[in-house]
Amino acid sequence: MNFDFNDEQKMLQKGARDFFEKECPKALVRQMAADEKGNPPELWKKMAQLGWLGLIYPEQYGGGAGTMIDLVALEEEMGRACLPGAFFSTVLLGGLFILNAGSEEQKKDLLTKIGKGETILTLALTESTGSYEASAVETTAVAEKDDFVINGTKLYIPDAHIADYIICVARTKKGAKAEEGLTAFLVDRKSAGITCTLLKTIAGDKLCEVVFNKVKVSKKNIVGKLDQAWEPLEKTLQQVTVARCAEMVGGAQKVLEMSADHTKQRIVFDRPLGSFPVIQHYIANMVIDIDGSRFLTYEAAWRLSEGLSCAKEIAMAKAWTSEAYRRVTANGHEIYGGIGFTVESDMHLYFRRAKAAEVTLGDANYQRKVLAKELRK
C-alpha cells in the first residue's frame, strides 16, 4: 500500500508547479477567459516541448508512455494553476479516443501531431440534454456512396471553434440498446455545413454549439468500428473523468492553501482570523473534503492503470469530488469575505471552475446513479 507518487512523479509535479507559476500567471488565466480563442499559443508550444501534450501516449506515437498516475500528478498542477486552453479537449477527449479506437494510421498521424502541439482536436458527444449517456445522441449519419452525411446539433463541445478536427459521435443504426449503432467520425472543422457558435460560460471554458447540416464525411474517416463507438467512448470517458477529478483536487488544494494563509494574515478583533475555532473548523472540513477526493481519485487512477475493474471507483471519485470541490470553494469565499467577492481576488476563478467541473462528465447525482447500478449487481 502506498498513497504517494513515486520519485519521478514528484519531479513531474514540482516541475509542473514551477512551470505554471511562471508561465501561467493568473493574469493570463483572466485574459484567456475573455479571449475568443482561449488557448495561449506560447504556453501550448512550451507544454509540447516539455512532452506533456503527449505524456500519456505510447512511444511509437511520439508520446511519453506515461501512466494514469503520471497524468494525475500533472493534472493536479493544472487545476492549481487554473490552466486555460485545449488540453482537455485535445489531449484527453480527442486524443484518448483516437488512442482507444483509432487505426494505426490515425494514431500515428494525430497523436504525434497532438504531442507536438500542431493539432487541436475535440470530441462532440453531448447534445441538448448535456447527458453523456448513449441515449442522448440524436445526431444521425447516413451512408451515401463513399461518404456518410451527418445531421444534428452538438452542444457543450469544448474548443470546437479552434479545432482542426471534431470527432463527431452520430447514430448510424437504431440498435436494440442505445449503446448500439453509434459511430465516431473524424470531421474536418472547415467542412461545408458545419456552423460553430461559441457560448459564454461561468468559468470562461470555450464551449460551443456545433451544428452539422448535411456534412459529408468520407467512410475512411470513421474512427474505430462502424456502429461500435460506445465501448472505446466509455473507456475514454473513464480516463478523462479521472483526469478531471485530479484537476479538481489540485484546484481545491490551492483554495485550501490560499484560505489558510488568509486566516493567518487577516486580523479581526485583535486576533488572527485563524485562531477562531469556527474558522479552524471550516479549514478542517476543507482538508477532509480534499483528502477524500484525493484518495478516491488516486485509487481510481491506480485501478485504471493496473487494468482492474474501476467503474465503481471512478463513479465514486467523480460523485464525491464534484461536490467536495464546490464546498471547498464556498468555504474559501466565506473565509475571504468581501475581498473574495471582487474580481481582483483569485478565489472566484476556482469557484467558477468548481461548478463547471462539477457538471462536466456527469454530476454527482448522475455518478451516484451509475454507482448504485454497480452496487446492485
Binding site: 488516486y298 491506480w302 451516484r368 446513479k369
Partner: protein, 411 residues
C-alpha cells in the same frame, strides 16, 4: 502508488497466500464456531465482551498473534506488517470484534505508548503482559474533565516508593473486565494544568478501588471508578513525574488512529443495500426509488473514504511516518459517517426502523436501531469532533491556536 491492501486476498503474493491459508486453518481450529453466529442471532453487534471472544483472544495471544509484529522477546510473533494485516483481515472476516485494546493487533494504546516512552525495565515487565492479553482500561475522563482533559483532578501524592491516589474517573469502558487502569493523575497542583499530570498503570485489584456501573443509551455499560487512598508503586509511572501530558497527546493520537477503522458502518451499508434490493414497495424493489438509490450510493462512497483514511494511517505508520493529525481526520470521519449511515438507514427502513434488536419484525436484526443509539457517542467520545477539527487546522495547516484564558486548577 498502490492500493493493493484494499481488497482481501485479491493481490496476495504466493507467500502471502500461504500465510493467509495458515491463518484460516488456525482460526478454524481455534475459534468457537458459535462466535460468528451468536451476535447475528441475537441481533446484537459482534459482542466485544463475551467470554467466548475473550477466550479466542487469549488463544491468539498464546500464538503471539495479538501483537504479530512485536519481537518474540516481548511476546509477539516477529511477523511483518503485511502479515499483521492478513491476521487482522481474517479475524474481522469472521465477524469477531476483539475488545478495544486487542483489536488493533498492535497492543492497543498502552503497547505503542510504552514502546516509545517506557524504560527498558518497564518494557520487559509490561510488554509481555500486553502480548499475553492483559486488558487495560483507559482512565482519562472525570466528572469535570472531558474534552478539556487537562483539567483532571484525581490526585496522586508521593509517599515513599508509592503514590497515594484519591479521586474519581468515569466512562472507563471495559474497566470491569480489565486488569489494569491506564491512569492520568495530578501529581502537582501548583503549576499550569498541563504541567502537573503524570501517567500511571494501576492494578485494578488494588484495595480502595470501587467500580460502579453507568448505563448508556446504547445498552452497553460503562463505568465510574472511585480511588480511595489507593497505593500505586512509582515504578508503574510511564515517563517523568509531571510529564504525562505530552505522552498522553501521543497516546490519544494512537487511539484516534485505531478508532477510524471500525467495520460497523461498511457492514451496515452492505446490509441496507441487500434490504433495499429484497424489500418490495408499491410492487417494486425499494432500490428502484431514486432517493433510496442516491442515499445508498452516497453512503457507499462515505464508507469507502473511511476505509481509505484508515489504510492511509496504516501506510504512514508502516513507513515510519507520524500519522499526527490524520488520526483526528479519520476519527471525525468514522464518527460522522457512522451517524449518517445510522440515520439514513433509519430513513430507508421507515416505520420498522424503531424496532429494537430481538423484537418481532425488526429489520436487519435491529442493528440499525441499535447503531442509531450507539453512534451518538462517537462524535464526542475519544476527543470531540470540535477539538479534532481544531487539531487538523492547527497541525496540518498551521493555523494559530485559540488564545487560552488560564484559570487556576481547583484544589
Amino acid at each position: 502508488m498502490d492500493f493493493k491492501e484494499y481488497s482481501i486476498g485479491e493481490f496476495d503474493t504466493e507467500e502471502q497466500k500461504k500465510f493467509r491459508q495458515e491463518v484460516r486453518e488456525w482460526i478454524n481450529k481455534n475459534m468457537d464456531p458459535r462466535l460468528s453466529t451468536t451476535a447475528e442471532e441475537r441481533g446484537l453487534p459482534p459482542d466485544t465482551d463475551s467470554d467466548m471472544t475473550r477466550a479466542f483472544g487469549r488463544k491468539l495471544a498464546a500464538k503471539g498473534w495479538l501483537v504479530p509484529e512485536w519481537p518474540k522477546e516481548f511476546g509477539g510473533a516477529g511477523l511483518t506488517a503485511e502479515q499483521r494485516y492478513i491476521i487482522n483481515q481474517e479475524v474481522a472476516a469472521r465477524n469477531i470484534e476483539l475488545p478495544g485494546h486487542w483489536g488493533n493487533f498492535q497492543g492497543g494504546v498502552p503497547g505503542p505508548t510504552m514502546m516509545k516512552f517506557a524504560t527498558e525495565e518497564q518494557k520487559k515487565e509490561w510488554l509481555p503482559k500486553i502480548a499475553a492479553g492483559a486488558l487495560f482500561s483507559l482512565g482519562y475522563t472525570e466528572p469535570n474533565a472531558g474534552t478539556d482533559l487537562a483539567s483532571l483532578q484525581m490526585r496522586a501524592v508521593s509517599d515513599g516508593d508509592d503514590y497515594i491516589i484519591n479521586g474519581q474517573k468515569m466512562f472507563s469502558s471495559g474497566v470491569d473486565k480489565a486488569d489494569y487502569h491506564w491512569l492520568l493523575v495530578r501529581t502537582n497542583p501548583n503549576v499550569p494544568k498541563h504541567k502537573g499530570i503524570s501517567l500511571l498503570v494501576a492494578d485494578l485489584k488494588s484495595s480502595g478501588v470501587t467500580i460502579k456501573e453507568m448505563h448508556t443509551i446504547s445498552g452497553m455499560a460503562t463505568h465510574e471508578i472511585f480511588y480511595d487512598n489507593v497505593r500505586v508503586p512509582k515504578k508503574n509511572r510511564i515517563g517523568p513525574e509531571d510529564g504525562g501530558w505530552g505522552i498522553t497527546r501521543e497516546a490519544l493520537s494512537i487511539e484516534r488512529a485505531s478508532v477510524g477503522s471500525s467495520p460497523w458502518a461498511p457492514k451496515i451499508v452492505e446490509e441496507l443495500i441487500k434490504y433495499a434490493k429484497e424489500t418490495m414497495h408499491n410492487g417494486k424493489p425499494l432500490y428502484d426509488d431514486p432517493l433510496v438509490e442516491q442515499s445508498l450510493a452516497q453512503l457507499a462512497i462515505e464508507v469507502n473514504i473511511l476505509r481509505l483514511f484508515s489504510h492511509r494511517i496504516n501506510w504512514m505508520v508502516d513507513s515510519g511516518m507520524n500519522p499526527a493529525w490524520t488520526g483526528a481526520e479519520s476519527k471525525i470521519w468514522e464518527a460522522e459517517t457512522s451517524q449518517r449511515v445510522a440515520n439514513q438507514g433509519m430513513q430507508i427502513l421507515g416505520m420498522s426502523c424503531q424496532l429494537e434488536p430481538g423484537s418481532k419484525w425488526a429489520p436487519i436484526n435491529g442493528r440499525v436501531e441499535l447503531g442509531y443509539r450507539e453512534t451518538v457517542v462517537r462524535t464526542f467520545g475519544g476527543g470531540s469532533d470540535e477539538m479534532m477539527r481544531s487539531v487538523i487546522a492547527t497541525v496540518s495547516m498551521g493555523l494559530p491556536r485559540e488564545p487560552q484564558m488560564t484559570m487556576p486548577v481547583k484544589k
